[in-house]
């Protein structure tokens, strides 16, 4: 074995970054993704060949890179993107997962889905058109879903002769609009996805631009604080009881840390019972751990033999989530059919589940202008509304802004079993 090969070991320092892109056919999104994949050597020859022959079959003169992502028969036939597609690429520094969401059909549903797990959103703006309705929509959803980082790519710089003035005008325009958003980190990059300027390589055409290339930003942006490492939350998924001779009395609580840092010896409280104990050990197949933080999957054992099961949450006694049956959420309605009047739904929150009803619709949000629509309270597919829910039992919740894991819920139709809505909790 070649032990001196650093290539095969450097992967042990790689981090994972999930980002979302949204856009319609002509804003260059497919071209940009194609370029990121191509320049990072993540597109294979047989994929290029397949796309080339499909493009020719369709009588296209150029190679249509959207055929790489649009895999379903209906999508290819109709030339539309139906659903979120996940694409993967890696550089020596990071592995990337792109949630590529379509800009037209059911855009809210798809963008919200793609945004829910992302660290970063790429917003594409055509420098010739500036901030348009779609830009606002994408940015608003990114802000609503609390994506920590926004990178605004001002695209098609080649079509304005790489003019600094044109770029600055769009940056100003976007900043004015973004003042209404709740996003901590917004960056701008002048690019030409078609020619590759400032995508992977620094462009000679924009000597006035002192910032980083898009790829450099993606590779180095600090994502370590994207998870909550302060408020300890451990939703129990299942109880591990081996019933073997060696582990006869073993009771481990399996779950994924949803917030904070747990250590052996920590005082804990189990919700909803309120029983208290101490963490005896943090177990994993690879041995006992000294600490566990989000998003690690571990197994906790406790000093005392108390009753703990799925749906319970292990927290610190002095830092507890809010126990409530009245939950205020910003709700995205994902289903084609709106909610039934007085309808009851199953509600999922971490590993917990209950039933709930929509008690009151407070207002709807116009996602293009961010205006509250106080008089329009009829929720339809792809609408976003502030609503009040009443659950059959208390849930242990945090504000979505402080913890995406314990601040999010979904609603499920009890007849069709479909996931009909997604909600961000507001306290």
């Amino acid at each position: 074995m070649n032990t001196n090969n650093t290539d095969s070991n450097s992967y042990l320092d790689m981090q994972l970054l999930r980002f979302t892109t949204a856009g319609s056919v002509d804003d260059g999104k497919s071209t940009l993704i194609g370029r990121l994949l191509y320049d990072s050597k993540s597109i294979f020859e047989d994929q290029i060949d397949a796309v080339q022959s499909s493009s020719e079959k369709r009588g296209l003169e150029h190679v249509d890179l959207s055929l790489l992502t649009d895999g379903l028969k209906d999508e290819r036939e109709q030339g539309i993107t139906i659903d979120v597609a996940y694409r993967y690429f890696a550089t020596p520094k990071r592995k990337f997962i792109i949630a590529d969401t379509p800009g037209h059909i059911q855009y809210t549903r798809n963008m919200v889905t793609g945004a829910s797990t992302s660290n970063l959103a790429l917003i594409l703006v055509d420098v010739r058109h500036g901030v348009i309705e779609q830009t606002c929509r994408h940015s608003f959803i990114a802000s609503l879903l609390q994506i920590p980082h926004l990178v605004v790519c001002i695209n098609k710089m080649d079509l304005v002769d790489y003019s600094e003035e044109a770029y600055n005008k769009v940056v100003e325009q976007y900043k004015n609009f973004a003042a209404k958003l709740d996003v901590k980190d917004i960056r701008f990059v002048p690019i030409s996805a078609l020619h590759g300027d400032n995508v992977v390589n620094r462009s000679e055409n924009t000597p006035w631009y002192g910032g980083e290339t898009l790829m450099h930003t993606l590779e180095t942006i600090h994502i370590g604080s994207d998870e909550n490492h302060i408020d300890c939350r451990f939703p129990v998924q299942t109880v591990i009881r081996p019933h073997s001779d060696e582990y006869h009395d073993y009771r481990g609580y399996a779950g994924r840390v949803a917030g904070g840092v747990f250590k052996p010896g920590d005082d804990i409280t189990v919700l909803p019972s309120g029983f208290t104990s101490k963490i005896k050990a943090i177990d994993s197949f690879d041995g006992a751990l000294e600490e566990a933080f989000a998003p690690m999957s571990v197994t906790l054992t406790l000093e005392d033999d108390i009753d703990v099961g799925r749906g319970d949450m292990i927290v610190r006694p002095k830092n507890q989530p809010v126990a409530t049956q009245d939950i205020n959420v910003m709700l995205c309605w994902l289903n084609q059919e709106g909610p039934m009047a007085g309808g009851k739904y199953a509600i999922k929150h971490t590993s917990n589940e209950a039933r709930c009803m929509i008690k009151e619709i407070l207002y709807k949000v116009d996602i293009n202008t961010l205006h509250r629509l106080e008089s329009d309270k009829e929720i339809k597919g792809n609408d976003i509304a502030r609503v009040q829910l009443r659950t059959t039992k208390p849930l242990f919740v945090d504000e979505y802004n402080t913890n995406r894991n314990t601040g999010s819920i979904i609603l499920i139709d009890e007849t069709t079993n479909e996931t009909v809505a997604a909600g961000m909790i507001i306290l």
Partner: protein, 300 residues
Amino acid sequence: MRYSLTHLKELESESIFVMREVYAQFENPAILFSGGKDSIVLAHLAKKAFWPAKIPFPLVHIDTGHNFPETIKFRDDLVEELGVKLIVGSVQESIDKGRVREETGKNASRNALQTTTLLDTIEAGNFDACMGGARRDEEKARAKERFFSHRDDFGQWDPKNQRPELWNLFNGKKNMGENFRVFPISNWTEMDVWQYILHENIAIPSLYLAHEREVIWRNNSWLPVSKYIQLGPNETPEKKMIRFRTLGDITITGGVESEADTLAMIVDEVASARQTERGNRADDKRGETAMEDRKKQGYF
């Protein structure tokens, strides 16, 4: 870096989370085990997810009867080591019972027949969730697959009507007769799988490592000579150093020429590969949407 995971640790944690959700949300789940590297990684992750308890699921193998002998040996050894139950669905039996008809001709394969055997096995075992090692980077139809993929009572996938999947909230609710396919390593790439196998030192069938074998050149790859394939008039077997990037039925799994006989060399080779791993799979070459068509009918 404080409080940050490597990409492999994060992927591992996500997969373990998904497997524990399956255990908690379903009554009778199973792992679909092909003997390929992805299902081997799946079994390894299951071991980690439930330790110190045993894996609480049986392994289900759909046996086409056209296996590499090494695969079967490897499967049996692993089942013994893990102490889990093995359930075999036999395509030969489906043929004998008249449930399916064998393809004929030079490119004949039992790949498509597996769907019937798989669905019969799921029904007979009453499995309400079957975990598979499919990854989204493998094939374009799979890029749109969910972690929890709902199947109707005919076992069919409806790609246009999938449940949205947000955050880590997985909806496994279903009506009588319906079931789920669950893909815990959806977000892994071929590279991630190999790096993980290397890092965790997971045993894999020797077929993945370069070895000398009798092969013929067919459909742009080196197809292993076996008693199940018919040689064409211009096809002469040659000896080549090859390895397999995927393992399926012996009749459709093509090898690539390679000198990589250690895991580290495979990782390097995958890093510089210019062809996708499924580029050597004859089952995907039967049309632009071959995978989607099979998946809709209930394929893996």
